[in-house]
Symmetry: C2
Subunit: 194 residues, 2 copies
């Protein structure tokens, strides 16, 4: 039997993560059954769970990648831009099952966070990375003179996170997007220097 | 067999709703099994479901009562005050199973809204009543000159609802309340005349 190189292992891991991301995004966490994961990834459960301990670990690995992407967007454009992107996708979809599934996953995550302390612990690092990126970005904006200076950075960051959570819950429950662009303008204005 | 008067029927209905409210608040929607409902209400399932078609109808009847209370608070003190009350309860609890259960129910509702169009339709009237009360309150504040006049009432109302949704999601997932009071001050200031 030929030995498998580290490169081959890494490539296989990437392949699994890509398929898993599509599957979670399309069906949500609960809907992404092991059978569907097998189909989407194109590997047997044995092969998949040779690389990831269980479905949770696979989900958290995907979420970690997502967090890294979100951290990069937050660092460059801010959390408000993340919200605007999300809203733009929601506004012209209805036909985008990936977004619907992803929003569903976020609610499943909330549910797990509430009922499963072990999962909550593993999830915490991910949310802290986004919170940290948000505070850093706000700090740079403060130094650039575009941010209001009368409210601590930590409070402004939590305000933006509250709006982000609200937006996710709003979109996940399929409510209309109507005035949300104007609402996000208001959110942005509330943290800026007037 | 003696005939049951309307008063007796109404009293029985009230009794069932009171027990159901406690049960849903304590165990969340999913956790409030028929057996637990029987215990909390002190009646058999036959007696309970003689008055309410099913568990959903019972839950929606409780939610309707909740909405009426929330509409009254919004009308008198505004949606920000509803948020402040919620935060105050969360801040000094950890020991209040009713709040934890209620927050859990809200997430279950979000889940149902997403996956069950029939439930979503029955739920819509309830949220519209709160939205309407929010807009009316804002309109009165505008006329009293305390509200900013450069953003339409509808947008301000949706902004407050977004913050409310964010707060519910934040608290339901058991995250720390730390700066949330300052965050709510920021939310309130954002809709006021500066």
């Amino acid at each position: 039997m030929p030995r498998v190189s580290q490169d081959q292992l890494d490539a296989r891991r990437k392949e699994i993560l890509a398929g898993a991301r599509t599957c979670f995004a399309r069906h949500g966490y609960e809907g992404a059954t092991v059978r569907r994961l097998e189909e989407e990834i194109g590997l047997s459960r044995g092969a998949i769970f040779h690389h990831f301990r269980d479905k949770d670990s696979l989900f958290l690995a995907v979420a970690e990648d997502d967090a890294a992407t979100m951290v990069a967007t937050v660092a460059e454009h801010g959390l408000v831009q993340v919200m605007r992107d999300l809203l733009a996708r929601a506004a012209d979809s209805g036909t985008e099952p990936e977004l619907t599934g992803w929003l569903g996953s976020q609610l499943e995550v909330s549910r797990r966070l509430r009922t499963d302390p072990e999962f909550a612990k593993r999830w915490a690092a991910r949310s802290e990375a986004v919170a940290e990126a948000t505070r850093e970005r706000l700090q740079r904006q403060l130094e650039a003179g575009v941010l209001r200076a009368d409210v601590p950075i930590g409070v402004l960051a939590q305000f933006l996170e509250l709006a982000y959570d609200g937006l996710v819950l709003h979109l996940a429950t399929g409510r209309p997007v109507q005035d949300l662009e104007a609402v996000l303008n208001l959110v942005e204005a509330a943290v800026r220097r007037s």
